[in-house]
Subunit: 355 residues, 2 copies
Amino acid sequence: MEKTIAVLPGDGIGPEVTEAAVKVLRSIAMRYGHTFHWKFADIGGAAVDKTGSPLPKETVEACEASDAILLGAVGGPKWDNNPAQQRPEKGLLSIRKHFDLFANVRPVKAVPALLGSSPLKEEIARDVDMVIVRELTGGLYFGEPKRHNESSAVDTLVYTRAEIERIVDQAFEMARSRRGKLTSVDKANVLESSKLWRKVVEERKAGYPDVEVEHMLVDAAAMKLITNPKAFDVLVTENMFGDILSDEGSVITGSLGMLPSASIRADGFGLYEPVHGSAPDIAGQNKANPSAAILSAAMMLRQSFGMDSEASTIEDAVMSVLEDGYCTGDLSACGNKVISTERFVEKVIEELERE
Amino acid sequence: MEKTIAVLPGDGIGPEVTEAAVKVLRSIAMRYGHTFHWKFADIGGAAVDKTGSPLPKETVEACEASDAILLGAVGGPKWDNNPAQQRPEKGLLSIRKHFDLFANVRPVKAVPALLGSSPLKEEIARDVDMVIVRELTGGLYFGEPKRHNESSAVDTLVYTRAEIERIVDQAFEMARSRRGKLTSVDKANVLESSKLWRKVVEERKAGYPDVEVEHMLVDAAAMKLITNPKAFDVLVTENMFGDILSDEGSVITGSLGMLPSASIRADGFGLYEPVHGSAPDIAGQNKANPSAAILSAAMMLRQSFGMDSEASTIEDAVMSVLEDGYCTGDLSACGNKVISTERFVEKVIEELERE
Ligand SMILES: CC(C)[C@H](C(=O)O)[C@@H](O)C(=O)O
Ligand SMILES: CC(C)[C@H](C(=O)O)[C@@H](O)C(=O)O
């Protein structure tokens, strides 16, 4: 197959981890006889510094001319006091909206070799295997009116039925391909938007008789993610709740540095990025854990290109390296073979070549 | 002193745990020579069953004629399909709004004897000692427009500067009386209301030079409550974020059954209730843990009546009973002296009388 991939390294450790992912993709392409074309472009603070905008026109065009987007990370203290339109995060929000990337998909899976890094007791973190599906282009993030002055402020949480239907369907499909359980999280005892959300979930479930559905209030979900995260299979929720719960979920297994994410559109186009941030404190030190970026690349192969076997090969290679006791310094519990970013990537590629 | 206390037992285990708290208060009144008058009234599902309303007029009047309110818990499956105006939670929302109880205060403190019950590793949960201050009468809960129809839905997050100032001041005062650290949680990179919130915090801090202030995004706070909860002293946030974070916070130390809360007004009037819910599955079985209700009563004595020593006496008595290895069945890690609700209360009263 021939595919074009837009690569947006971004800020902080973004460039080094995307470089790692690109190396792994090159190796996979060789092994499987694919041709990947690359379009490198700027986003976030790096783009602000060069062009004044966190999502320059050239970047949008590069992405439009591609089959998928691979992103590193954006943000850093350097741009923290910029005006809203010139902040790195704005690039992320704009690219989501521009490409209608309405479904943010975040798998959270316990890695046995890393349970020691989990803040949870091992018996609670062990065997966690869930996917958080967050609506990404609606709700409080974009609703109007949205403004403040000296004396008051307003944000608006709006959802249309169509917006809810498409994300709920996405989550049902995902539950069907997994253990068949869907937890829809809302605040239906307080929010009108949650009442419509719950109604839509109740309607759509007729189309998925093989999926068991439960509704959970967001406050209860925030507790259960800690007390019994194994109980979740697929969790679906609106944008703001999803922001909070998916970050909460990202730390429970102790493997934040391992977690990939996808932000996808109905037709399969998507943006893939690590869950972790730009970690400016360790940027450029050859210390960052490239696993999340590499696993995001694998997710891209599977979800946007339908390359299942290639994706699994990458995932297995990363796990093998970890199981051999190698890891970057962020994973305190990895054993004592702490290696650099570059060395870690070499190990992964050696594994790929061995298989 | 002479005080009138409105007692609203509510639903599920509410009646048994408030009865426990009342017994303890009677014993304290005797010991310290106070006179407490009681006004029992209905709220929640119990009130719906009797009057059709979750907050009947007589209940409001009883509270208006009192110096503080002691509440058990509301809710249960029996009323889950009621129309919005006849749901138990509506009673809670209405009483908060009616009495302008804008500050919800929830201490989260690790109890050494109970660390085994924490889902977190003991070294992370140990020494947690924080207070979550949640704005309780504004934001998404009450903003207009707030409606849905078949094709769309809207909720509105509104705050006035005055609403933000009073809750932020409350939190600053609390931080000043504790370890002097305030974490203000918002989503200023996305929400306009958070921008005003952050601005107000920045302005007010001039009045509290002894308090160290940090701003944290809500998604980062949801992570840090798990990875390093000890880092918090006082956390202040808006209503919806506070709902989620305070419930998340309630499970980290493993002592949900122990946690009291206060919902207070500027003049010291307040409503005191356990953080836990109505637990309909164990209602009426003499199994419920009355600690949270008893500790809520202690909080009432301290915060609404200025009875510091009485409050501490109660708190010490509860801790002594736990340290002696006695507890109700919810605290799996308590040792093996599991006792009933009534027996637990007797033990607490024995301790009170001993001191
Ligand atoms: C950077 C920020 C705007 C963004 C969000 O809130 O969506 C981030 O927290 C995320 O979850 O991707
Ligand atoms: C019952 C519900 C309306 C309420 C809230 O969301 O405020 C509850 O979750 C709480 O935190 O007291």
